[in-house]
């Protein structure tokens, strides 16, 4: 046990730092929609409650110390959750950070207090030191954290779990010396244990800070990929329009010449022949196919032109009418994105015989199944278990964005997307959409 000569942090001091840390995170993550009055009430009530709680558990035997600390964490959780009224996950993430900050500031303050005023530490006048040190340190942390939390905090489960593990380890390591001096990681000299505790808490805090930093960076990368994919598709659209305009211009000139030559032709037989030539020359520009869904027709006709350009043969068997319940934009996302991905992948295959795409849409009872199949280009591009495929290319982000866009669109209709490589070395993407029941009252939940 710790030597009697050096008392540990008074309970009241701990309560003050915990309250201060809660206040810091409430302020740092404050959103305009949070209720100001509620925040003030909760924080005002929290101060005496935390102090009272720490005084009570301070009287408990040391064997219950850990449970007392867990109770304190729970109390901080309740405070943050009530004051900020966010999701459970968000509150959990914040309480983990607040707890480590509280531990750090309490430990640091106590160390300074002992050093500066020695025997007077822990007496009522020393609370001035608590207020000054806690205020300065937490104020500094606030400045650091404020910019990190400017955007709303929505941590993933993994992030929260990671943060909680970091906090738990930090807490365990920093307090080891106080539970027993008989471990390889415990300090044995009086004042040294305080310093170890401060250092370990500081490390924990820095790791949490770095975790948040990495998190923000990942999100920025994803947003970048999203906007790049958007730009990419806009560019594709531009190319398509440009191609269409070029064709129209060229055909216009050709047609003018042909019409002139028909007009000038005196021989009726030759004239008829020229007319059928003329008809033949515009035949490829008729609509690729009629599936019973005008939106699908446009999407397919457009991609058909691209297929012709890169010598890819596309076969389509589609019951477009079955997709009548899907909004045009969603259909364009699902079919257009999937076809673009397939086309891009297939166009890289050298052997022309392997440059094909099969696209089927079929209805069966309450479901529509869209199936897209194409041969796999050189390297296998599929992650295990048929999840998001990994393209070996640099623009993998755009591709996986493509698939997640298809998935998001399908999920909006309660659908399911599976993608994966078949034993025949082809890539198959399947989208299964439930056909909505034709009830007049749309939503009966």
């Amino acid at each position: 046990m710790i030597e009697e000569a050096l008392p540990d942090i008074p309970r009241l001091w701990t309560a003050l730092s915990e309250w201060g840390a809660c206040l810091l995170y409430v302020l740092a993550t404050w959103r305009p929609q949070d209720s100001r009055r509620r925040g003030v009430v909760v924080m005002a009530a929290a101060l005496p409650l935390l102090c009272g709680y720490q005084e009570v558990i301070g009287r408990l035997p040391i064997s219950l110390w850990l449970f007392g600390m867990l109770g304190a964490v729970a109390a901080m959780w309740v405070i943050l959750h009530l004051a900020l009224s966010g999701s459970l996950r968000r509150s959990t993430y914040l309480v983990v950070r607040a707890f480590v900050a509280a531990e750090l500031v309490a430990s640091l303050e106590w160390q300074l207090e002992l050093f500066l005023i020695g025997d007077h530490a822990g007496t009522p006048p020393a609370s001035l030191s608590v207020i000054v040190v806690d205020g300065v340190v937490l104020g500094g942390v606030y400045l650091l954290e404020r910019s990190r939390f400017r955007s709303d905090v929505v941590p993933t489960v993994a992030t929260v779990a990671g943060a909680a593990a970091i906090a738990a380890i930090t807490f365990a390591m920093s307090n080891l010396s106080f539970l027993s001096t008989a471990t390889p990681f415990s300090g044995r000299l009086g004042a040294e244990v305080f310093y170890i505790r401060t250092l370990v808490d500081l490390c924990g805090f820095i790791i949490l800070y770095a975790q948040r930093e990495v998190d923000l960076q990942n999100r920025a990368t994803f947003e970048l990929a999203t906007s790049e994919a958007l730009l990419h598709s806009q560019y594709e659209q531009y190319l398509t329009s440009k191609r269409a305009i070029d064709i129209v211009n060229r055909k216009y000139h050709d047609l003018r010449h042909m019409i002139a030559s028909v007009r000038a032709e005196p021989d009726p037989a030759v004239r008829l022949e020229r007319l059928s030539d003329l008809e033949e020359s515009v035949r490829p520009y008729e609509v690729f196919l009629r599936t019973g869904n005008p939106v699908l027709d446009v999407i397919l006709t457009d991609r058909e032109q691209a297929c012709l350009d890169s010598e890819v043969s596309m076969t389509v068997i589609a019951d477009g009418a079955a997709l009548g319940f899907v909004a045009a934009a969603d259909l364009a996302t699902m079919v257009g994105t999937a076809l673009d991905n397939a086309l891009e992948s297939v166009a890289r295959i050298d052997d022309q015989a392997d440059r094909w795409i099969r696209f089927d849409v079929r209805a069966r009872r309450g479901f529509v199944l869209m199936e897209l199949e194409n041969p796999v280009a050189a390297a296998p591009v599929v992650a295990a278990a048929g999840d998001t495929p990994l393209t070996p290319k640099k623009d993998a982000a755009i591709h996986s964005f493509g698939l997640s866009a298809v998935r998001a669109a399908a999920e909006a209709y309660g659908g399911q997307v599976t993608a994966g490589e078949s034993p025949q070395r082809t890539f198959i993407l399947r989208v299964l959409l439930p056909i909505p029941a034709q009830t007049p009252g749309r939503d009966r939940r």
Partner: protein, 244 residues
Amino acid sequence: MSTIPSSMIRIGVVEDDARHRRVLSDYLGRFAREHAVKLEVSTFDDGDDLLADFRPIYDVLLLDIRMEGTDGLATARAVRKVDPEVVIIFITAAHQYAINGYEVSALGYLVKPFPYASFDHELSRARNLLGRRDGTGIVLKDGSGLRRVPVRDIVYLESSGHRLDVHLVDDELTLSGSLKQMEPQLAPHGFFRSNSCYIVNLRHVVAVRDQDSVMSTGQALRISRPRKKEFMRALTEHVSGTLP
């Protein structure tokens, strides 16, 4: 795959170009060799030839689209009136896409001149489909003895205590045993354990609403939350494997 029948496949080839007929019969010979399957091939010069005395005896029809007289699509329509089951694969020349294969529930089409690999791929799909379609039965033992029940007649199995209720389309059986014992026997036939007390026949799933699978008989059976994703995956595979 175990569901592929090893028995013979009857194939009708309708093609008016002798040269293409030869290519097709070469390909069919190679397919039979490579997959060790017996094919019985009948060849027709055109659609009228096939329709003259048509009986629904074919498993697969390879139909050229552009033919003198009755073209491939018209032939397919006529065939479908008599035989809703036969697997139809169209053969087209390039840039002749404007056919609607869906109208006659075609499996797919091949664009001339196609390499053997495409042919193999398409015929393998047809074979897979035939394999899934066969009307296999499952032997169940109820109180009165052994009984063979066609797979398509089973809607779902429900466990109740130490017994199993087998809900058929128009009947119900009770057997002793557990879902756990039945699962391996049923899984290859398009069944899925959607819950601790149900094994459902995916053929009979007509809708999925929130956490329930709606069966063709109208019941809504709960899908357990952790199995929902796997259920949807199995359903997708199943629907894809049994169409058209």
